[in-house]
Symmetry: D3
């Protein structure tokens, strides 16, 4: 159960409206790695959690914080849209600023949401749960969370570079700092689990059931061997259970497949079709 | 540029058809963390790569291998669908096996693809590029890749538990082993970059520009303090640049927002609407 | 900013697991009119609100309650999935209960979410922000909200009819009661605004700018005049500004359109294509 | 069965081309509340109708009219696109009008549709049946229809404000007038059903089966009590079956949930993971 | 502008309900190549038509017929759903017929649409305009139309094989016959245009502007030369403008690409990252 | 199994960056008829192929070539994005070139992909497998392939017209030439199969089972008889099995449908609702 308090977690006030930047900012609100994604991802992981209490609580705390970030961004976007113009080509042609706005803003910010934030990204794609996941395996999920915070902070930094507005920069500087914490936090949680389970997810599958003779092979599947120069191509494997092995060229263990003809009730093209 | 050879990377032959399992197996072909996802994710990261050659080559090698996995799964699914029945309730009611098949298979495997694999997941959702990304920042992207291999191996293991078919188990045992390698591999690549850059993505954003007074705070936003028990709540931060700090209850740094009224040409509800 | 408390708004305990019903219940969690939809719809309307405080507060209160409903449903679904089997055709064929489960459950509940709730509907479609909206016009939006509560309660009632589990029925009886309140509530809020603005959204557009000679015409566009029997076909219009007028057959006010040929650089088929 | 006549329901001729406005106009053709949505929503409700003939006929009449609106908008958009330029940065940089067009138009109007209308909204999202519904319950569905006409008229009015073209304004003035009628019409149909059934959907579910002690409670779930000032917080409920009751703070009726561990074959993280 | 008459184009009465088949039949109503797709594809092509009148009329006639097919299928599906049960595992386990139904039906047919047709395919995916197109080039579009009729008839035939119900078979026999006509019809229209324009779309692009030295080469990009045996590998090209040429192995005309480093404000991984 | 070689199939070097054109070019990379679509469509058709070897090999060869085209376009787009600016309204307003770029580029090219290609179209929609298909019937599928090459070449030609950059024009001239070949090739493959099977897909369904009395009727469903002037309205049918027959007006073979009331547990609106 949730409670809402009216204060924002941090100020969300631009110096002046900018509907182009409002559109760009949608990316970290409703994009693939935006705040809706992390909020719902962490909350679903928390709600579905069948393991130790501290992890559930961790997920609920951070998921709840991300809801506050959705709120801050929605507020900032609405303010950046203050007085956004409605216009057509005739008006655009007379004024380069209007032309720039018409080009760079999302027309739905006027027509659909009435100068409000949209649950969408900077290209106008509506948010979808395709972006998130909760698998029941914490190591797999915390890696997804670390990914989201990494991509999210990267995008926030690029947006910081894109604006000259001190109010926007200040809010982004707060969100960037929180992403610093959240990357550190998931990194810490991952380290804790890896220390207990080793690194390969899931750790509970018996190693002898997998085809272990290919478990540490790197397959060179392209001309050139630049890929041989990395840590992944030699030395002890990261799980300390094997030795990396660079295999060039990569073998084919299987045969060329030959599928059976389809039964007649399928009305596929039959193989009796003439060969030359 | 690519070349194709007819051999499969590994055998993909079930002992007998099973259209229910064919549908389940679609998850790791065309699902969020399936082989289409990793193939296209690694290839796009490779094609967009503006950095050191060995990383581009690594991405192209592994992306190219994943195409072979798509091929193996498509082949296996087609074989599991051999002779899948077309039937209605009347036929289903006479035969519990037919009833089970009708319930558990995806009808599109007959009606749409003619006993062939679909570019879709086990719930019938078509594959979408919503699942993938390439950001230009390798640490962010390699974390996405490690996530995909972790989720993907978890799903392959669950499918291994779900089947009794030795041919299917054998192919899964190969894919599971390759995911062991790929988790080790991305882990190694990540370690290499973290050693150079520290752990927070992007490492090139000046720390003094972020609001550093919140960069290591954990905010307790729920009743109870179970989340205090983790590594993330105390001690040196993982980036060695700060100290984790558990803050309970979490503060609000911002004010309650009050948006300006919309301009009349928006025809929003005006604030003059009567208060009680 | 939000806070989370660990108690559920209402109990969410089934008498026993039922993975088929777990899938059905997903509809009111992650479907078009499910709890994610209403939670995010109300919150976005609240965050974007540029009008009187009591409406913003109303939206935030109810949006926050809907988050608690998402939580209850996620919890219930996870419990209904306890011990859900992983199985293939061979196992299904030996046991009619297993066959029924395999057919009626969503395989992603095992393979993807590890016996956790999904952000998806009962047909496995992931939730999308296509379902929601916030227009800045409260009368338009409150009508959307009343619609969502009407469709949502209808679905909850159908699910109540579908289950024999007393624990599930009890939770649904709570949600159904809350939907009773929420329909009453939006109805009350709508009545308040309609009393001030009249019923046509938006009320601020000058009537003389619309083509008023068609503002109260009902057009019969099909054979037969059954549609003449309703309140909409005669008498004073609901906005008291006109008189309903049944027009049969309906007129065409425009001409047959004839588009100009495309410019050559478009490479469309040119109109010089031979007439017979 | 349908017949087509070549005349448009109303003229659709702009004074001159304007590819930017063509893109904006897509919103009410192929957007969430555009004409494709209402056409298919009403037709599906009509085709699925299992109730009194006059409602089926009403739905078919209006659904058929909406097809004519799709046609008018498609025609208008095609004309607004006449001679839309194909251009790159070099050309854009020489001419501010070209720059404005390049920015504000949808490139697919040239590359994909060859200066024709798209089944998409003003942000380029293709139309999807996610937008529509037909539940079999007329009161629920007519509320959805009233919502669509309210949102649709609001968007048409905003577009009217956005253009200076008299031909476009004239067509919008027609569509706005029809939306006036359609709001009145659904309002009338709703009133008719509410008079028979009372207001809560579905009316056929026995009240004694819902948890009636919460059927009229308003839960304050945020700091502050602004939400207490509305009609929804006191007085007789709109269905005349109860009394609104403002509850502050809102209670939790349930316990903190504790899910059972997942079975081993799921390979979720087990709860034995170390607490601190 | 359209008119609706109440008669169906053809009868749509099953002998008895069958909710499993109702779900399968959704494929040709709301699937990729279903009747909604062809109806809207032909209508959009007609509305956007900038060429000779007979083609516009052809498109409008056939698009209008397809609306009648949507109607017939919606009616048939609703009838197949008559009395479809709402049930959970407990009921399913007692009755194999109920178990089969629960497995094979789409739960949304009960919960969402109240025993009505859905604008969705047989896997429950909602219809999307991703499936259709109108390019302004009739030869390109008529090929899309012939494709849709070919895929559509194939699916209808598979469904014919899947059912034992004489009423359903009769309606499918009608639709299959219409698809026979529609394939013949598009074939005829294509022949007419190809006779005027030759076969390569678009025919208006000057041949000398393309890199003609590769315009008739077949590239062998796989081991083995089975692909050499077809008509496409030798002899005069189908446009009579060249000679097919089998090239094995295929050449690479380009160099290995090397992208420039990203500018610092992008915060991509810089190429200075250490090579081994 | 696939191998990658580092050389591009053809050069992909623009003369200078142009982020607006980069966005336009996305259409033929990640759009409905772009290179991802043809690559995966041909590969899935190949993998699922249950017929003669030469067709499988044909599909694999061409699918593999299309992967090289994805690669070329990704490379070209990345280069067109070199140094693309990050900017807000303030910067845009000072410089018309910046304004044009901000308007015409996809902001995700900076914020999300860090100056790399996206798996998306020119309107920013992510690629989806909704675009492709593999039915098991080669004639149906080769028609889909011919369609894709026709639409694809049309789009490439329009893009050729849109750019003044000689490097981009050169690459497009190569792709256009390959599309010339691919149209010829699918045309040849289609001719081969039609010669064996006749033209109606599927050819294996017994003609006597369809309702043959409507198999060659053209239904005039609109006012006017322009559609009578085409080859499709008279003369021998294209399959030589009948005679085209123009029927005007078109008949209705079915009755007006009347659906049964829904069972009470559905809570649909009952038909007892009052008629006037």
């Amino acid at each position: 159960m949730f409670f809402h308090m009216k204060e924002l977690q941090y100020e969300a006030k631009p110096s002046k409206p900018d509907p182009i930047f409002a559109n760009q900012l949608q990316e970290i609100l409703g994009g693939q790695f935006g705040e809706i994604s992390v909020a719902l991802q962490y909350l679903f992981q928390g709600w579905n959690s069948r393991t130790t209490d501290k992890y559930r609580d961790l997920l609920m705390d951070v998921g709840t914080e991300e809801l506050a970030h959705v709120e801050m961004l929605a507020t900032m976007i609405a303010r950046l849209l203050d007085k956004a113009p409605l216009a057509d080509l005739e008006k655009a042609a007379e004024n380069p600023v209007t032309a720039a706005i018409l080009g760079g803003m999302n027309p739905q910010h006027a027509i659909v949401s009435g100068l409000g934030a949209l649950p969408a990204d900077s290209a106008g794609n509506r948010w979808t749960a395709d972006y998130i996941g909760a698998s029941g395996n914490l190591l797999a999920d915390f890696r997804a969370n670390l990914t989201a915070e990494s991509q999210g902070r990267l995008q926030a930094v690029r947006l910081y570079e894109a604006t000259t507005d001190p109010g926007v920069k200040d809010m982004l500087a707060f969100l960037i700092a929180r992403d610093t914490m959240h990357q550190n936090m998931w990194k810490a949680a991952i380290a804790e689990i890896e220390a207990q389970e080793n690194i390969v997810v899931p750790s509970t599958f018996p190693r002898e059931l997998e085809n272990q003779y290919v478990s540490y092979d790197f397959y060179n599947l392209s001309a050139g061997e630049e890929s041989k120069k990395g840590r992944w191509a030699k030395g002890a494997s990261m799980d300390s259970m094997g030795e990396f092995n660079y295999v060039s060229p990569a073998p084919a263990y299987g045969e060329a497949p030959k599928l059976k003809p389809a039964p007649p009730y399928m009305h596929n093209t039959p193989p009796t079709t003439r060969e030359e």
